[in-house]
Structure formats: C-alpha cells, structure tokens
C-alpha cells in the first residue's frame, strides 16, 4: 500500500500524466534547452571577438579603480557671476512677481517665486479675493515653461525659419488674401483680454474681411447662450456660496471645473460649522465628482432624471402649469420623496438657496437662472459676469463648413488645439490643410501645429505680457517673469506686426489701460498688484434683474428623449482634476497627480458602477493568484478593457469600477490620448474628445467587454475605512450643535490599572515629555470640512520640495514619492456611521470573517471623505526611536527632521510610521535616463528649488513642514532685529499657501493669540490615531456633515 502512496509537491506533479513538464524537470534543471552548444559551436565568432575574458577583467578592474578614485576627488565646480548684475537680483534671495495665467482653460491671479531669475513656484495672489485662485494645474504650469519639447523657433512646413521670413511671408499672404476679399479667420482661445480684443479690432480694420472666432475645447456654449438670451450680454453668472443655506447642484461639478471653476473658496467658507451653522449641499449627478464627494446628500442619477428634478424644482416655484413636458418619463417614488424634501428645504431657505446645473442645454440653464432670480438667491450674481468662457458652438461649426466650401483664405489659430479636441477632427484637418494660409501659434509641435503651414513658436505665459478682465470690472495684468527661453513670440506681437504697428505689446497695453481702464490710478501699482478693480464699472444687482422680468405667461416646452435601446449606455465626458482639457499633458507632475476620487495616476479610464460591470462581464475576480484578478501580487489594481462605440468610432479603454456612478452611465475624462508634441511616456490614456460630438458631454454609446487586462497605477489600494471611525472622525451638524464634545470627538483611552486613562496623560506615555513652550512651535491644522480634495496642495508640495516623479511602473509598486497625499475613503454602508456600527456589532469568528470582508467593498452610493496626510511631525515619533543612525530626529520647533546625508536606508522608520508618510528613494530619480522626466534634462531642472536638497538613491524622505521657509522667516526677523510678526509664518508652508479653501492652516502655537493655537484647542480638533500616543503636530478638525436624520 505504502508504495502506492504518492507525495506531490505541486499540482503539476499530481497531474504528471498529462503534464510532461514535471518529468522534464525531474531529469533536467531547465525545461527548455539551453543553447550552450549553439553558442560554443560558433567558434569563429568566439575567436574573432576582440575582447577576451582577460580584457574584460582588465576593464572591470580598471573601471572600478577609476570609479573609486573619481569618487574621492571632488568635482571642479564653476561659478559664473553676472557681468552686470541687475540690481533687483541678489543671489539667494527670492523675488515675487504678480502675474496672471490665462491659457484658455485655467485663469488665475498668481504670484511667481523667482530665484536668480528663474520662476520656480506658483503662489496665490493674496490681493485677489480667491475666486480666481490657482488649482493643481496652475501650480504645475511653471514646469511647462521648462518643457524640452517646446518649439524653439518658427517653423514653415517642418523647416525652421527666421521670424523675419515668417513675418514677411505671412504679411504678404494676408495682404494678398485681403485684396482678393477672401476671409481671414482668427480662431483663438478665450482671451478675456481687453487689449488683445482692441488689437484684434485693429487687425480687423486693417484686413477688412476678418472674423474672430473663439473656441473653448470644453464648451460652455449652452450656458453662455442661456445667459445671453436672458441678460443680452455674453458671459456666465458668478456665484458666491459663502452665505448660502442650501446649495442644490444638478449635474454641476462646481468644485471642479464647472463654468471655469473657482467656486470652492466661497463654498468652503460656508461649510465651517464653528458658529453652529453651515450650508447644506445636495448634489444630483451621474459621475462621482468632487462636488458629489463633498455633498451632504448625493443622488446618482442619469441625465434624464436630472432634467426631471430640475423641472420639478422649477414647477414647485413657478406653478406646475408653466411647464409642459413632452415625455412620459416620471420620477420614481423614492426619488420623488427626495426631490420633495429638497424643494421644501429650498423654499424654507428663501434667498439663502441656490440652484445650479451643468446640463449642457440652453433651456435647462435658463431654468436655473430663473429659479435663482425668483428666490432672489444671494449667492447668484449675474451682474459680475465671469468672462473666461466665450465660445459659441455654432460659430466653429459654420467655420468648418465655410472652410470646406473654400470660402476661407486663412486661418490663424492661437492657444487652441482643435485637431486634438474636436470630435470631428478629420473634416477640420482636411479643410485646414487646403487653406491657402494656415498659421498656428503654439508652444509645441502639437496635433494642430503639425497640420499647419506656418507654426509660430509662441511664448509661455510666464514670458508674456497681457491684460485680462476675468470678471466684470476685475482686471488683471500678466507680466513676463523671465526672458523668452527660446526664439519665441506671443500672438499679440504678431498681431501688432501685421497691423503695421511698431510699438511693443507692453506699450500697447499700457496706453490702452491709461486711456480706457485705469481711471487715473497708477499703472506701476497695478502691475505690482497684478490686479486692478475698477470701481465705476459695477452695476447694482437688483436693477439688473428687474430689467429682465420673467415672463409668467410663457409656457415652457421640454422634450426629453428616452433612450429606448437598452444596450446603449450614457457616457458622461468630464474633465479630470489633474489634466483639464489636456493642454498640459506633457507635464509629469500632472501625469503623476493622483485623481482625487479614483486615486489613479498616468491614465484615464471608463468609470462604471459595479452592478453594470457585473452585467457586462467587466468585473475581475477579487485578489487571488490567478490571472484575471482585480489586483496583482503586489497590490496593483487591474481592470478589464472594454470597447466603446459611437456611430463609426470605437476605442478600447480600460474600465475602472467607480462607487457612486449612476447605474446605466459611464464616465470618461478628456485630456488624455495626446499623440503629438509630447514625450512618449506622456502619451497616456485615450482621447475622449473623439466622442464629444456636437459639444455635448452626454453621448449614448455601446459597450462591449474584452478579455484584455489593463494595469492601473493607483496611489491608494484601500478604499474603505473598515469602520475605523477614529481615522476620519465625523459627525452631523445636529449632534455637533446639541451634544457634548465627548459624544462626537472622544479622546482615546487606555487602561492603566483597570482605570481608563486618556492617552494624553503622562502616566501612560512611553516617551518622556519635554517643555515645548519656549521658542517657536509649529503646528498644522487640517479642516476636513474645508478640504474639497482638489489636490492643489499636492502639486504645490511637489514644486516647493523637489519631489521627484517616478513614473507609472513605480507608482504601481507603491513607490510613489508624494510627500503629501489626499486619502479618499468610501463608506461601505450608506454612510461611515453605519460602517462603524457594523464593525462594533461584529461578534464571533464567522461574523467577523463575513463582515470584515463585506466592509472592504464600497457601497453603491457611498459617503466620501478626503483626508490630506503628510508627515504628522509627532512629538513622540516612532520613526525617531528606531533609526539606527539617528537620521531622523526631533527639533525644538516641533518638526521631525530628516537628515538625508545621515540616512543609510534601513527603512525601519517607514515601517514604524503609523501614518505611512515616509518615502524611500528606490532609485536615483534625477539625471537618470530610466526616469526621463523633468529632472533628467537641464531645462527641466531649472524648476528645482535651490533651498531644498535633491535627494539621492537609498535615502528616506518625507514632509519637512517646509522648514526652509520657516527658517527663512526667522532669519529675516533676526536680520531686521525684531520678533517674528504676527501671522508671518502662516502662509509659508507650500500646502497651506496653496489651499485657497483654507483647509490647511499653519502657524506657531507659541505665538500669542495665533489662529493655529485656537485651532489646536478647538473642540473639533483631534489627532490622527491618537490611541498610538504619538502626539502629532498636525491636528485634524472633525468633519461635520449637514445631514438630516433619516425619515
């Protein structure tokens, strides 16, 4: 018997009858033949080889010795001073200049930090009110300046030419076309620039048959049309949510890029509950957006349901007989209940309410405008228009028709890339190529430039002059902060040349401002401030509305087309926080910027609800060691590819399960799939603009699963909190206002002699306590109520601290280097509170196995919470105690110091850190061809902050609380022989300075009456994982949700 017993080592051996690999393995070391004989048989080659084994050893020996010797000798460093030093530049001292970014998609008033003449950092202009402040993309834009794929000089038919030739040839062509009465078209981005407008008028008067068409790659045309038809001017209404009681958003991602964005600042002002009040935010939407993630109530809906909700709200205010709906669609009972309570809340809030919508249809935009007028919403401000979007869909459509008919002689584009961003780019390319004169102003040889006859290498905005009117009467100036790096010119320079003017654009702006805008104010002061508010141009609010009374008689018709084809899915195109419209696709910071919601980098993807994915066979099995699993062995997330089809177009796109995605809908972001004018590493994702037909972000498409697997690079693999409510503490407004602080922000306790003792007590502390009342003591406060998850801080931290970019492959291995990350958590039940209850009620093994398993999965429509995490600078730091070489140590000012030169790379500290904020340099990320990002070329390295070490391979790094900046403040005070001024530290750390919503606050708690000391002792304040007893110098403020008890 025993002889028959067979022991097997693996499944293959058991199955050895059918598997002869095993037999092979028993006999040989390798299954496959090793080509030793082949190799040795090539005697000729072997003997002919000039390098013998001895030579090889000699070379090895020599190079090792040489390398050793070279390492002992310091390199010769050259220093080249100025011949004539400009008096405003002192080496080692930063200058700040106010300027404005306006790239057609992002508009912001900013300050530029300039070191030795190099712009290295974007900051917000503190003089501006914050509504036009820098987002993540604007913070990253400084790196675009040092892009080594930029055009260095003008190009004609792929051959470089001089500006003189360019100007001469284009001018003579324009003159000829003008004589022949052919149409000359200026096809540009939205400039929102008064001086550029008057230059274009000048150009028009010179060449007669000129038309100027603006084109926004992501169109707000319907909203503009609605506004124009209501108020007879073209613009977008401004909103200020600071004092709103209820914000109802129907498909409007106003914390993202809805109508140009920039509403997060006023929104969060109304969300801080310290006086017992905060606004309530209800969001109806299809994709999970930043706004939905921050909402108190989020209802995932398809577009038709969203329309019905809006109509329902309208009816309740204006009477149901005002609207005629030509559809038999009705709200479900459940939804009807939600809408009814919403309407009641809106009505009781009176003027404190506001309704906004992102539905790209003029009629629905009008409904929202009328509702806000009717309730006299204080948030709604149509007088002060936002002027950063202006395109009219019909204009461009007509232009392409005219171009194809051969009526157009010349098209001059500037700041746009229609070949990339038009759905029907084929017909545009065809027409564009057949033009007698095509000129493209571009910084890159991008998709449009490569089809243009002349390409004018244009300036980066940091090299340009310009002026702007971003909102009515709010003017801004842009000034160059560096001399043009290459032989480039800006669009306006050429307009001046063509118009026959000899003056520079700077002089033109200056004279224009003196004549029309400044009203005897000082030009130099305006240039210094970067902004100028014209007082006389404001119009009183109520007058404006009364002029346009809502006609009560008119009956409104709405037709809602119901998609009968069940196979078709509703595709919602959206701009991603990190990439916007895709013009910054060659920016490695933005490529590696994790999406706030999916936490994915280097990709765009189709978001889908879990149940739809299941139905479509797009779901991968949970993590196992089989192929086709949702995660690979080191955790990397996988997704299946799907093919989506619209009419004749089809693209293969990876699928990502998005909790909260409305059933029957899909999401896909613009901005990816660029193919020209960027490095190969940056050609990521698919181009969603192909599906952007008729500038409508909602498309009905067919979808089909494939069996191919896509590998995502996600920054975070854990999606839920597993009921650990002490990581993100949250409560409701009602509890916050009525109950004792212990009920919703209880400090952790440990048992000492069977008595529960708070962890802050020295009796239960492992560490010795020090007196921290002398000198400065820095703290950082993060208000979870104010954090919208926008990620501006992440990029600002990158720029300030020389954080390297590691690439998709490394991110997938969780080797990302972000010093600051914003963790996003989904609830597994409908809310985090229910998660906590579920976890607390687990008893017994069986229950824990099933329940914990279930808690790992986010709910269909989860609550979302964001939590920015950087080094917590623990006063009792676990990392410091385990470092064998004392590379990590504590300073008196509260910071946890990291001495890179001391670090030997044991990584004990990272393992002992409860917050996982330490980052290890697995490779040398600068000057390494394997990581061919900005740190691998001289141009890209110009963005490096000279006050911060560029880390080398094998050392640990982490947030330093921007010690270089706090030290600079202290030194400045010492040099001036004075104490540090009140609040002088407050905007000195990069993340806090970048956080316009004011979620991240920094300061010195030993400073008398400082805001930060108050925040530290706020009743909402808590320390992350306080049970560990690390006593961090970063405090979080409990998240309060304005949720009504379930009825």
């Amino acid at each position: 018997m025993s002889r028959d017993k067979k022991y097997w080592k693996n499944l293959a051996e058991l199955d050895s009858a059918n598997n002869n690999v095993f037999d092979d393995l028993q006999n040989k070391e390798f299954v496959e033949e090793i080509p030793v004989d082949d190799f040795l048989s090539e005697q000729d080659n072997l003997t002919d080889s000039s390098t013998s084994r001895r030579d090889f050893l000699k070379y090895i020996g020599f190079s090792t010795a040489a390398a050793t010797l070279a390492a002992c000798e310091g390199p010769v460093v050259k220093s080249i001073p100025y011949v004539v030093q400009p008096k405003e530049i002192i080496p080692g001292i930063a200058n700040f200049y106010a300027t404005t970014i306006a790239n057609g998609y992002d508009f912001a008033n900013i300050l530029i930090k300039n070191r030795e003449g190099r712009p290295i950092l974007v900051k917000n202009n503190s003089l501006a009110d914050g509504s036009m402040s820098a987002n993540a993309r604007v913070h990253a834009s400084v790196l675009d300046l040092y892009d080594n794929t930029r055009l260095t000089q003008p190009v004609k038919e792929n051959l470089p030419i001089s500006w003189f030739t360019f100007e001469y040839e284009t001018l003579s062509e324009l003159q000829r076309l003008s004589k022949e009465k052919k149409e000359i078209v200026l096809l540009t981005q939205t400039f929102a620039s008064p001086s550029t407008q008057s230059l274009i008028d000048k150009f028009k008067s010179k060449f007669k048959s000129v038309s100027h068409i603006t084109y926004d790659s992501i169109s707000e045309s319907e909203a503009l049309d609605a506004f124009e038809s209501r108020y007879s001017v073209r613009g977008l209404a401004n909103y200020d949510f600071s004092d709103s009681k209820i914000i109802i958003s129907i498909g409007a991602d106003f914390l993202g890029d809805w109508q140009g964005g920039g509403f997060d600042c006023s929104y969060t002002r109304g969300r801080i509950p310290d006086d017992g009040k905060m606004s309530r935010h209800i969001q109806f939407e299809s994709n999970m957006t930043l706004s939905g993630a921050n909402a108190d109530l989020r209802v995932p809906l398809k577009i038709n349901e969203q329309k019905l909700v809006l109509i329902e709200i309208y009816k309740s205010l204006f009477g149901s007989n005002k609207v005629k709906l030509e559809s038999n669609l009705k709200l479900s009972k459940k939804l009807k209940n939600v809408v009814d309570t919403t309407i009641n809340e809106l009505k009781s809030a009176k003027s404190g309410g506001v309704v906004i919508t992102g539905i790209q249809q003029k009629e629905y935009q009008l409904l929202a405008l009328e509702i806000n007028e009717k309730i006299k919403s204080i948030a709604f401000n149509p007088q002060q228009m936002i002027l950063t979007r202006s395109s009219k869909n019909k204009d461009l459509h007509d232009l392409i028709v005219r171009m194809n008919e051969g009526k157009v002689g010349a098209v001059i584009t500037s700041g746009i890339n229609p070949v990339y961003s038009l759905a029907d780019s084929e017909s545009f390319i065809k027409a564009f190529k057949n033009l007698e004169l095509s000129v493209c102003f571009s910084q890159k040889n991008d998709e449009t430039a490569s089809h243009s006859k002349y390409v004018a290498a244009s300036n980066h905005y940091l090299e340009s002059w310009c002026d702007y009117e971003l909102k009515t009467a709010e003017y801004s100036l842009a000034q160059p902060v560096i001399k043009t790096l290459f032989n480039t010119k800006q669009f306006q320079d050429l307009l001046l040349v063509w118009s026959g003017s000899k003056s520079s654009f700077h002089d033109f702006i200056k004279s224009n401002w003196k004549k029309n805008i400044l009203e005897n104010e000082n030009w130099n002061q305006s240039l210094h401030d970067g902004i100028f508010n014209r007082k006389s141009k404001k119009i009183s609010k109520r007058n404006f509305i009364s002029q346009n009374k809502i006609s009560t008689k008119a009956l409104k018709y709405f037709e809602i087309i119901q998609d009968t084809n069940q196979k078709k899915f509703e595709l919602n195109l959206y701009p991603k926080t990190g990439m916007g419209d895709g013009q910054q696709a060659n920016n490695p910071w933005l490529q590696e910027f994790p999406d706030p919601l999916t936490r994915a980098t280097w990709d765009n993807y189709l978001t889908i609800s879990e149940s739809d994915a299941k139905d479509l066979n797009l779901l991968l099995k949970p993590s196992t060691f089989f192929k086709q699993s949702s995660n690979d062995a080191n955790g990397g997330l996988n997704g299946k590819y799907a093919v989506i089809k619209l009419n004749s177009k089809s693209i293969k796109v990876p699928v990502m399960i998005q909790p909260g995605q409305a059933k029957g809908t899909l999401g896909l972001s613009y901005g990816y799939g660029r193919s020209k004018g960027l490095k190969e590493e940056m050609m990521t994702g698919v181009n969603a603009f192909q599906f952007y037909e008729n500038y409508n972000p909602i498309q009905y498409i067919e979808i089909e699963a494939t069996n191919e697997i896509h590998e995502f690079a996600c920054m975070q693999l854990q999606n839920t909190l597993m009921g650990r409510g002490d990581i993100i503490k949250e409560t409701t407004l009602e509890v916050f206002n009525t109950k004792n602080v212990n009920a919703w922000n209880k400090q952790a306790v440990v048992s000492l002699n069977h008595i529960e003792t708070p962890v802050s007590s020295p009796d239960v502390d492992l560490w010795q306590e020090f007196d921290r009342s002398i000198g400065h003591h820095f703290n950082l406060s993060i208000d979870l109520n104010a954090c919208t998850g926008c990620g501006a801080c992440v990029i600002a931290c990158h720029a300030e601290n020389n954080v390297p970019v590691v690439g998709k492959r490394e991110v997938r291995k969780s080797r990302d280097m972000h010093w600051l990350r914003i963790d996003r958590y989904y609830s597994s039940e409908d809310s985090f509170e229910e998660d906590n209850n579920k976890k607390d009620n687990i008893s017994g093994l069986e229950s824990s196995l099933t329940s914990f398993g279930a808690l790992e999965n986010p709910s269909e429509n989860p609550q979302v919470a964001f939590q920015p995490i950087m080094c917590q600078h623990c006063n009792h730091a676990p990392c410091e105690t385990v470092c064998p070489v004392a590379a990590s140590s504590h300073g008196r000012q509260g910071q946890n110091h990291m001495a890179y030169n001391r670090c030997v790379g044991t990584r004990y500290c990272a393992n002992n850190c409860p917050y996982k904020v330490r980052r290890f340099n697995w490779f040398l990320y600068n000057g390494n061809d394997e990581f061919d990002y900005h740190m691998n070329n001289d141009l890209g390295r110009m963005v490096i902050n000279p006050d911060v070490t560029v880390r080398s391979r094998g050392v640990m790094e982490k947030c330093s609380m921007c010690i270089q900046n706090t030290q600079a403040v202290i030194l400045k005070a010492k040099l001036e022989g004075r104490p540090v001024a009140e609040g002088e530290f407050n905007d000195k750390v990069a993340c806090s300075a970048a956080c316009t919503p004011g979620a991240i606050k920094f300061g010195d708690i030993n400073e008398e009456g400082s805001k930060i000391a108050e925040l530290k002792n706020n009743k909402r304040a808590y320390h992350l994982l306080d049970a560990v007893g690390t006593k961090p110098n970063v405090v979080y403020q409990v998240k309060v949700r304005n949720i009504k008890e379930k009825s």
């Binding site: 011949v83 004539v84 202290i970 004075r978």
Partner: protein
Amino acid sequence: MFNHSKTLSNNFLRASILIFVILFSNTIFSQDGDPVAGKALFNSNCASCHKLDKKMTGPALRNVEARLLEDEGLDRDWLYKWIRNSSSLIKSGDDYANRIYLEYNKAAMTAYPQLTNVDIDNILAYTAQEKVVPKPIATAVAAAAGPSNSSGLTDEIILGVFSVLFLLLSTGLIVVTKTLRDLAKMKGVKIEEKKKGKPIWKAYLENQFLMLCTAVLFLLVSAYGFYGWTMQVGVNQGYMPIQPIHYSHKIHSGDNKIDCNYCHSSAKVSKHSGIPSLNICMNCHKSIYEYNGETSEEYSKEFYDNEIQKLYKAVGWDDEAQEYTGITYPVKWVRIHNLPDFAYFNHAQHVSVAGIECKTCHGPVEEMEIMYQHSSLTMGWCINCHRETNVKVKDNEYYDKIHKELSKKYGVEQLTAAQMGGLECGKCHY
C-alpha cells in the same frame, strides 16, 4: 626763502608739520611749485578722471604745461582759468577750451574754485616730474636672502663642530675599550665569549604569540590609517585652484584694505556671499588700469597688468576709447568653497546676525596671493564652533524672549549657538 613761505595759505600752514618741513627743505627748486604737495592734491582732486600717462575720462596730464605751451601757446594763466571754472572758459569762446570740450564728448570738467594758484602750481609741478620706472624688488629679494644665508652658515659651523666632537668621542671610546681589554689580558682576567644563540628574527618567527600580537597591531594601525584616509575624502582644506584671472586677495584686501563686503555684498543679506559681478570690479578698475604696487619675480608688473587686461576683455571695456564695447566674456571662476548639496549654509545668518568676521572661516584672506580654502568645512568643524560660540543677542529684539527663557532653563548667562538649537539636524539639512 622766508618770503616764499609767507605766500602759503594759512590753511596749509595748519596742515601737518611734516609736510611743512619737507616743503621748507625743497624751496630751492620750488619756484614752480612743490611736486610732493602736488601729488597729494592730484590724488585727492584729479585722479578720478586723469592719469599722468594715460588718457582716461580726461586727457593724460604728464607735462601738460609744457605741452600746452608748445602746441597751443597757452600759458599757466589759461590753466588757472580752466581748472577753476572750465565751463565759463568754454562759454567765453576760447578756441582750445572748446576743442578739448568736444574731443571729450562734451563732458565738462568739474570746477575747482577752491584751488589757489599755489595749489595749481604744485599740481603742475607734480605733472612735470619725470616718469619713474618702478624697480623690481630683486634687491629686496637679495636682501631678504642675505640673512637667511648667514644663518645657514652658522648652522653648518655648529653641525661641523658637533661632528668633530662626536668623532673625537667615539675614537676616545674605542681607545679606552682597547686599553681596558689589554689591561685585563695583562692581569689574566678572562673575558667570557658570548654564545651564539638563535638570531632574533628566527626566534620572533617561531613565537606565535608575538606573531599574533604583531598581526593584530598591524591590522589596527592600518585600520586606523585607512579610517584617517577616508575621513579626509571630500575634505578640500587648502584647495587652491588656478583661476581664469589671477585675482589677488592680498593686493585688494590686504594692501588696499578693501572691505570684504564691498565686493561680496550679498553676504550681509543672502545665503550666498556672492561672487562679485564684473561691474563691481570696474568701479575701481576703470581708473586703475595698471599695477603699481610691490612686485616680485613671479608676479611682475607685466603679469598683473595683463590680468587687468583679462578683466577688461571679460567685461568688454575698451581702455583706449574708454567705453564698453558690449562684447562680454563672463568669467568662469573655479568655486573654492563647495559645501555639499545637503548642507544649507547661510552667510547672512553668520555675517549679519552673529557678527562673525569673514576671516574666522576664510582665514587670513588679506595675505592670500592665491585664494584657498582655509577651513576644513567639515561638519565637526561647524559643530565645534556652534558649541563654543555665544549667540549675539545684543540689540536684536528677536532673541529677547527666547534667550531669556532658554538661558533660565539651562541656567547660563549666555547661550551658545548649540543651546539655541544650532545642533539640530534640520537646521542645516533639508
């Protein structure tokens, strides 16, 4: 003689007695003024625009009086007028005045109404002096060599005497031993012959314990040596690279006493001391086109003058035409003090806040013909100083509170930089 001294102005009489004495002794040939007093006047009034032998902002002035008399027929009176108020002379329509005015691009000469005729006479006397060619300091070198030679001789004599003594002593010793042996033989004392034992090296090789000890000792010593060698890796104390322009700190800082901060001005406010831009050099070198100080064989006048020419080329200065050409060749200096990237050092903190002298770290710069790295710039060197140096809190309100509290805590009068937090890693490494 006495009459003449009467003509001197009262002011001048009040001037230094020394000058008076010199004047007095020189009166024999001072009918036309006194060149020594003239030189002082020339240097304080004229030298910023005029040189004796070279055209600068204004013309070269060597033998100006004789030249004017010869070429233009103008006498000293004309010169008095011109120097006291050239513009009125130009306005009066004087031919030569207008010509010279146009020749120098209508740059009017500063009026000197305060100069008396005697002053001007003195200046002219100075300009009339023959050019003195500075003699090389070969004699000085020889003179310096003299005493050192003589001291060498005495050493040799002493050595010689000693060696003769030594010889005498050793012969004496041999003679004495021999006599003693002979004496012993005579007396019949037997001297035991030493037995030939093992050679010492053999014994040593056979003794394993000794071998082990030696091996251990050898290893320890070589480990110590290796450690010492590794510790100096990357320490470039004494690093003295050859610079593209031979800039002598000795001449500028030592001989001419130029303050360090005049050129390295950003040291007071910034982290970098700053290598001065070339326009700073030209503040002085516009008028200093040649070197007239001490020279040696290695560093001759020609050598230094050539270095000044290098500066002119770099900055694009046409010394003949006295104007900038606009063609520049920025100088690629070799950086001497190289701190590694991971160490943050701020000059302003040390120079302005702490009031540390430059030479504390940079050594006797005023004696350095070629600049070199004086200090080791190692971390231990930094730390030592931080431990020993007190924080300069006087007149700095920043320190008021923190110094009071901290000194109380540590129970000291004066806090050192280390106690103030100057040893924390993160203060220099970030």
